[in-house]
């Protein structure tokens, strides 16, 4: 008789806590006077991780522990780097992380009743478009992209939440219909969202959503010809934007040779490359680099800072962690109890994949840089909450899948 047994990942969590605590102790002794707040910060983070892991695994037996562990490790890594750069940033981020954990639990609970999302689908669809449209009118511009909105003194980046909404919209429309006629609202939605994002100059998010939509569409319908058509349309759009928008041309020119415009537009990417080169394979050692030389060091460019201080080997490890996360995410999708949940889980996985790929490849100059955050690691309230929501959705589906399988096992035993 087969018994359901979930392997505990507590050992891995312990190792992560060791890593995190030793890093914060190192940070605490940075100056000749002991920095108690670093130790306190490390202790708070440990408490949060332990509480989160113990309570979640106690409540949800079928939680995918490894997804949670990887996310925790990435968040811890991000917080270490942020604390090392500026303590105040890390304190803000840990609050956002707490809120993100709540959002994750809410998502897990909602995924027990996935029909709620299906009924509210039109609302989500219109809400996302409305949000982006509102951004055009009241948004504020940061780094040349009009993608921030200020509510009650807090800045939000609605495109992060539009990503999450997109996952549900895609899954809903692709669950039922398998031909183009049935999904015209979806096509309209994707087109509208991408167009709005391009107008707001949030190219990273536009590429992300267009790519996710295309991949999920291909997976759900299996239609190679339509996917290639979509890909061609996307490439045509990208090519057109290259000729229409100045900033796209500038991005490509910088990508080709960042050193030519070092003192101007190429500064960021050149600094990032020098940071990676200075770190070498083994890194300069935590606190021994100069991360502040790179613009956007705590958001988009955090990967370069990790490479500088922890070394390129660590960079490769981070990439490997994302890969494991993605594989686990895809497994969750494969074990999902129904088609809607399968597509939802896969959509989340694709979002994380593309987002981490686009920004890491941009930083290391494999592709032109588009400014998006590194999921779980980068500083940013909206970013981490959205990432935690995606994790929550994945966990929700994993729990459902596990419970269904366990029920079938019980029925067999009868």
């Amino acid at each position: 008789m087969y018994k359901w047994r979930r392997v505990s990942a507590a050992g891995l969590l312990t190792l992560i806590i060791v890593f995190e605590l030793s890093a914060f102790s190192l940070l605490a002794f940075r100056n000749s006077t002991l920095d108690y707040s670093a130790l306190a910060f490390g202790a708070i983070l440990v408490a949060m991780l332990l509480f989160q892991y113990i309570s979640l695994t106690a409540i949800f037996r079928h939680l995918d522990r490894y997804l949670l562990i990887i996310a925790n490790l990435l968040v811890a890594m991000g917080l270490i780097i942020q604390y090392r750069i500026e303590a105040a940033i890390a304190f803000r981020q840990i609050i956002w992380f707490g809120i993100g954990m709540l959002a994750m639990v809410v998502c897990i609970l909602f995924m027990r009743r996935p029909n709620i999302f299906r009924r509210l689908n039109l609302l989500i669809l219109l809400g996302c478009i409305g949000l982006l449209f509102a951004l055009l009118l009241v948004g504020s511009e940061v780094y040349g992209a009009r993608n921030w909105i200020t509510i009650g003194g807090q800045n939000f980046q609605p495109s992060e939440f539009v990503k999450v909404g997109t996952v549900f919209v895609l899954a809903h429309w692709l669950t039922n219909s398998r031909d183009l006629r049935g999904i015209w609202p979806l096509l309209f939605y994707v087109f509208a969202v991408v167009a709005l994002l391009v107008v707001e100059r949030d190219l990273g998010a536009a590429v992300l959503i267009a790519g996710t939509a295309l991949i999920v569409f291909y997976v759900a319908t299996g239609s190679k010809s339509l996917t290639l058509l979509g890909l061609a349309a996307g490439s045509a759009g990208a090519l057109a934007s290259y000729y229409i928008f100045d900033h796209v041309r500038v991005r490509v020119a910088i990508w080709k040779n960042p050193w030519a415009t070092y003192s101007g537009k190429g500064y960021q990417i050149a600094q990032g490359l020098m940071a990676i080169a200075s770190g070498g394979l083994w890194g300069m050692g935590l606190t021994r680099g100069s991360p502040k030389l790179i613009p956007a060091y705590h958001t988009d460019y955090i990967f370069a800072v990790i490479c500088e201080e922890f070394g390129v080997i660590m960079g490769v490890c981070i990439i490997a962690f994302y890969l494991v996360f993605i594989v686990r995410g895809a497994l969750v999708a494969l074990n999902a109890p129904d088609r809607f949940m399968m597509l939802t889980a896969f959509g989340c996985t694709v979002l994380i994949t593309l987002q981490s790929f686009i920004i890491i490849a941009g930083v290391i100059k494999l592709i032109p840089l588009t400014g998006i955050t590194l999921p779980f690691v980068s500083y940013g309230g909206s970013s981490i909450i959205a990432s935690m929501m995606l994790l929550g959705i994945l966990e929700g589906v994993a729990i459902q899948g596990g419970e269904t399988l366990e029920r079938a096992l019980k029925e067999m035993a009868k």
Partner: protein, 154 residues
């Protein structure tokens, strides 16, 4: 003096960090893989007993009745079929549902009415089945539920 000593500690710690992270990564991959195998085994076990069942929707008199599926099933009017549905709109042997490479497939046995999968007629070739797929054989309509992948209808 203090700054230099700290510098040395910081630069030696990087090896510790790297080793730790690589160890975590390897353990993670190893755990993850063994868990994946365990789940696969459970799924295989569940499937080996029965891939699932068909739940009738139409006509009215069959509504809600469940027809358990084996590894190979014939569906038709004839008594000799594994799943025998005495309706005149079905051919004596209407369709095949069978397991292959861990998945469930359907193919038409050459009936005049044909087989509709999610309201679309399947052609001459086999089609892969998902849980929740709607199947129609003549006047008989049913939904497929795969083991271990039932929708939570609590």
């Amino acid at each position: 003096m203090y700054a230099n000593a700290y510098d040395i500690v910081a630069s030696s710690m990087r090896y510790f960090f790297l080793l730790l992270i690589i160890y975590i990564l390897l353990r993670l991959v190893q755990h993850s893989f063994s868990e994946f195998r365990a789940v696969q085994q459970i799924k295989k076990k569940v499937r080996s007993v029965s891939p699932g069942y068909l739940e009738a929707l139409l006509p009215e008199e069959f509504l809600g009745r469940r027809f358990p599926l084996g590894r190979e099933n014939t569906i038709g009017r004839s008594k000799r079929c594994n799943i025998s549905i005495p309706l005149p709109s079905l051919a004596p042997t209407h369709a095949f549902i069978y397991e292959k490479k861990g998945g469930l497939y359907i193919s038409d046995y050459g009936s005049r009415q044909g087989v509709l999968l999610n309201d679309e007629r399947i052609g001459r070739h086999e089609e892969f089945l998902y849980t929740e797929d709607k199947l129609q054989f003549g006047g008989f309509i049913c939904v497929l539920h795969l083991s271990g992948e039932e929708e939570d209808d609590v």
